[in-house]
Symmetry: C2
Amino acid sequence: MSLEYRSEFRIVTGQSVRLADRAPAYTGHDLRREDSENVKRAAVEQIDRLQYLLYAAAESSLLIVLQGMDAAGKDGVIRHLFTGLNPQGTRVHSFKQPTQVELAHDFLWRVHAQVPAQGEVAIFNRSHYEDVLVARVHRLAPEAKLTSRFDAINRFEHLLAENGTRILKFFLHISPQEQLERFRKRIEDPLRNWKISESDYSERENWPEYVKAYEDVLERTSTEWGPWFVIPSNHKWFRDLAISKIIAEEMESLQLHIPPPRVDLDDIRRKYHQTVNEERSIERETGL
Amino acid sequence: MSLEYRSEFRIVTGQSVRLADRAPAYTGHDLRREDSENVKRAAVEQIDRLQYLLYAAAESSLLIVLQGMDAAGKDGVIRHLFTGLNPQGTRVHSFKQPTQVELAHDFLWRVHAQVPAQGEVAIFNRSHYEDVLVARVHRLAPEAKLTSRFDAINRFEHLLAENGTRILKFFLHISPQEQLERFRKRIEDPLRNWKISESDYSERENWPEYVKAYEDVLERTSTEWGPWFVIPSNHKWFRDLAISKIIAEEMESLQLHIPPPRVDLDDIRRKYHQTVNEERSIERETGL
């Protein structure tokens, strides 16, 4: 079962993608919701353990990209899966509307500044992919420029991968009906209705254009060094389960180990005993 | 009991400080270790709940500064207390030896770049205080320059506080014997002996100079807007308990609330129903 999630949801390089063929309400075939909780928890613990090794070794890094329509669950994934990670070595970056300064640079400038250092896990809540999604749907740049961005993205991610960054990109796939249902819940939940914006509804009208734009992204930027996974996300429990399993398996495949001591342990043991003895003689002399 | 930790460990502005008068092995007077776990867990949950409000309101921020001798437990506090926080909105920054570029700027330059934005919690593992500690003990700058840094720090933190940042600074107070014991454990623990460096032992020789430097820091930079707390840290369980209680109480005092919706909810409800009806009629028309 271990390999299923990775292979089942991964977009093979060069494969053509029709999101309509992938059911957002899919929940796998062998695990029921009530049994999934333990599997997910074990995967999160595995990620936590491996994050310690990643941090200790400080030779490679992990970049997780989360994309999806409004209310697809990007914040929820971060809350449910990454709250268990040591914040020392884990960093979330949310990409908002670009600022004037950011717009005055190439579209990867602000992204490059946020990539993980060796030893780190970085989680992108939205990412450079907005620049080939929103920008495309709203025609913010000429088509030729947008097309050249796909090449730029692939080369950029290749550079990161060559420097030891494992890149995992997740598209959280929900149906329009599920989105509407989540909007309804937000209206009625006093803890969450501060999140509602007018644009939720206006962006929704562009759903078919977003689907097309996402299909293009998935087809053209799922590479060996930066694979896309399309995660059925109508059911939050299955979404969290699939993502946690994929991350755990990918991290396991990095074959991380605690690095050897940077010092000669015998030498350090001698230093330790010497220090202890010196303090004893000080204690004797001074009566402290 | 609620106010005890804050008042018990806070350095009053202008107070003279002798660390020798403060027992690093102190464990309070009313709570035993086995009972402390629940209190600490409740405090961490409270911090987590309040962090959501801080993030939602996005009007104020929290800056936590952790300082202490080697092996005092800075990493441990981060691991034990802040792993429960949503990483979206929580950021840890570890200040290492300054780089060449950083050294070519004033000492607050690299620090200013890392302060929390409104809505964020930032945790500093070491901080600008290294520049009046290490720099002092190793005489890296003339005394007059070091003295002027105290003023610079107080003004800098005042600026942050005026912009809505609540600053809490913790000195993790351990005894030299406890440090030595922790060094011993590190030597024998294969999961942690990669952390050992030669400088652990050489820096230890400067313990009395560090104590003096810390006393100066505590006396001169514990302000109303940036108070220092001296936390007895020989016992990890008490250290975590005291820090979590102080943070929870301070955050509670910010009187955070979920912000009101940015939209007219009735209007949004109408939009919602309109959207639902339109989709129904499309379904009827198209038979989808």
